[in-house]
Amino acid sequence: SRTSQNLTESVTQVFQQKESLDDAALEELEDLLVESDLGPQIAATIAGKMAQQKFNSAKDSNAVRAALAEALADELVGHEGTFEPLAGPRPYVVLFVGVNGSGKTTTLGKIAAKLVKSGAKVLIVAGDTFRAAAVEQLKVWAERAGADFMGRKTGADAAGLAYDSFIRAKAEGYDVVLIDTAGRLQNKQALMDELLKVVRVIKKVDPEAPHETLLVLDATVGRNALSQEQIFGRQAFVSGLVMTKLDGTARGGILIPIAKASDAPIKLIGVGEDIEDLHDFKARDFARSMVGLEPLGDKHDG
């Protein structure tokens, strides 16, 4: 009949209107992904998936980007984790690990401030007994946050300090113990062994501790982050990932291959040097910012 013919016609029309991305557009997408540090392989795979999608207009670059962000978010949502030290046992011991300059001390300071603000009794421990003025830096953060501070002279034994701080926190009824460590490159086994020693002495007090070991990654880092995750993850029992410095030009796309490889979820992101510049990791917002789009919906973040 006429009606059914019309229907078929319009369906065909709609279908025909749907466009695929041409080769140039696909290449542009793949480049965007490579330039966000996803790596050549994953960039190619995701661009391949985009090739199968149809768009009302393949020229509408915002719609295409939004679809790409969705594809990226799909890779990350399963790896979104939460950091809830006050929901766990007391004192809840958190250890900060990572390569040099990644943002461990600053992230610790920001976390301490949030916890103190919510009424927790927090002990900050200056476990970086190596770097010049690392102790003084953390002490300033403890003052800013209003948390108690425990530290020793540069050159002191970090493991001994960690042990003593845990004992003290138990005795004095602290809710959370935040232990900083010296930055170290994961290919230096002697330094990794020292870190393991810190973990071991904490376990001597309580085999369940540290309750959280956060690996702090710098957003500007490239493929080396995979090795950081692998080696710190395996040797230091990392339970959560933090990515800092996302307020710069780096997009932090290395988190996608890392999420694929890691058991530890991504928990927090750093977006500046100030005390409030720490947010929960939200896979969808993160994926959108990777392709240069604003987060959806509620823009303000507590």
Binding site: D31, V34, E35, S36, D37, G39, P40, Q41, V99, N100, G101, S102, G103, G109, F130, R131, A132, A133, E136, Q137, K139, V140, W141, R144, T154, G183, L185, Q186, N187, K188, D218, A219, T220, V221, G222, R223, N224, A225, L226, S227, K245, D247, G248, T249, A250, R251, I254, E273
Partner: protein
């Protein structure tokens, strides 16, 4: 995960062997492997593209097509190209050619290694060049940044401008210049706060410091583990500051070193030193051959290239 380029190419050419001469398509396929290898080494995409165009011209020549071991030949072409892009084999020494105090300005992203490298460089200039060096910290923002430089001064035996609370970076710069002049220092090293290039206020502050201090050397201190952001960062700093050279830190890591190539390629600036450890002695003069070898994968690239050269 990171196979060396030679492993990748050998695998590819093994599959093609027995076919006699290589076609242009075979070479194209080989160059795609080169592209992946460079990206896996963190060479930035725009630089990879530029490099591939040049490599393709060379690789479609007779030598490759007829070579007994085409993989070795491709590696040699890529290796030579990398050395070239890294600025050749000859190191470029630090420039101290100015009326003292010669000012050296250190700039870069947060945590890149500016303060540590300031102390390393000061120690080097004191020890090997017998210069009288003063360091000053203009970092009024990061907690204990000034104490860090002060302690490093004590460790290295290098003088540090006394800390005066409440001064702005511009004021400290003027005070440092004046006291270096009055006290007859040869070199003044200015350590600055870390900044992202999107932070307009801080980029303007850095430009102002450069204007006041008129540095002979302005170094961008960057992390050699940087990924694709290397070109964005290097370009942005180069636009705002009178950069004269690059120092790449954390070369003691197991990174492949593509960021060095990328930063050098987009700025055209020489890489002058590599930071190779946390200790104050760990500053090496840059060696392009070592880095080219790392980018292509571990393995003994230099020996391989020599072998390929004999075959040519």
């Amino acid at each position: 995960m990171f196979d060396s380029l030679n492993d990748r190419l050998s695998g590819l050419f093994d599959r093609l062997s027995g076919r006699g001469v290589l076609s242009e398509k075979d070479v194209d396929e080989a160059l795609r492997e080169v592209r992946v290898a460079l990206l896996e080494a963190d060479v930035a995409l725009p630089v990879v593209r530029q490099f591939m165009t040049r490599a393709k011209e060379l690789a479609t020549g007779e030598a490759i097509i007829k070579a007994v071991k085409p993989a070795d030949q491709v590696v040699k072409i890529v290796y030579d190209g990398l050395i070239d892009m890294l600025g050749g084999e000859e190191p470029v020494p630090v420039n101290l050619n100015a009326v003292p105090p010669v000012v050296i300005l250190m700039a870069g992203l947060q945590g890149s290694g500016k303060t540590t490298t300031s102390a390393k460089l000061a120690l080097r200039l004191t020890k090997f060049d017998r210069k009288k060096v003063m360091m000053a910290s203009l970092d009024t923002r990061r907690p204990a940044a000034m104490e860090q430089l002060k302690l490093l001064g004590e460790q290295t035996g290098v003088d540090v401008l006394p800390i005066v609370a409440g001064q702005s970076p511009a004021e400290i710069t003027r005070r440092a210049l004046q006291s270096a002049k009055l006290q007859g220092y040869d070199v003044l090293i200015l350590d600055t706060a870390g900044r992202t290039t999107l932070d307009e206020a801080l980029m303007a502050e850095a430009a102002e410091i450069a204007k006041i201090s008129n540095p002979t050397e302005t170094f961008l201190v960057a992390d050699s583990l940087t990924g694709q952001d290397a070109v964005r960062t290097a370009t942005a700093f180069h636009e705002r500051l009178p950069l004269t050279g690059l120092i790449l830190t954390r070369a003691d890591g197991d990174g492949r070193g593509g960021a060095m190539l990328s930063m050098r390629a987009v700025t055209g600036l020489p890489i002058k030193y590599l930071g190779a450890g946390e200790k104050v002695e760990a500053l090496d003069v840059f060696d392009a051959r070592r880095i080219a070898g790392r980018i292509l994968g571990q393995g003994d690239i230099v020996a391989l290239v020599e072998k390929a050269a004999q075959e040519l």
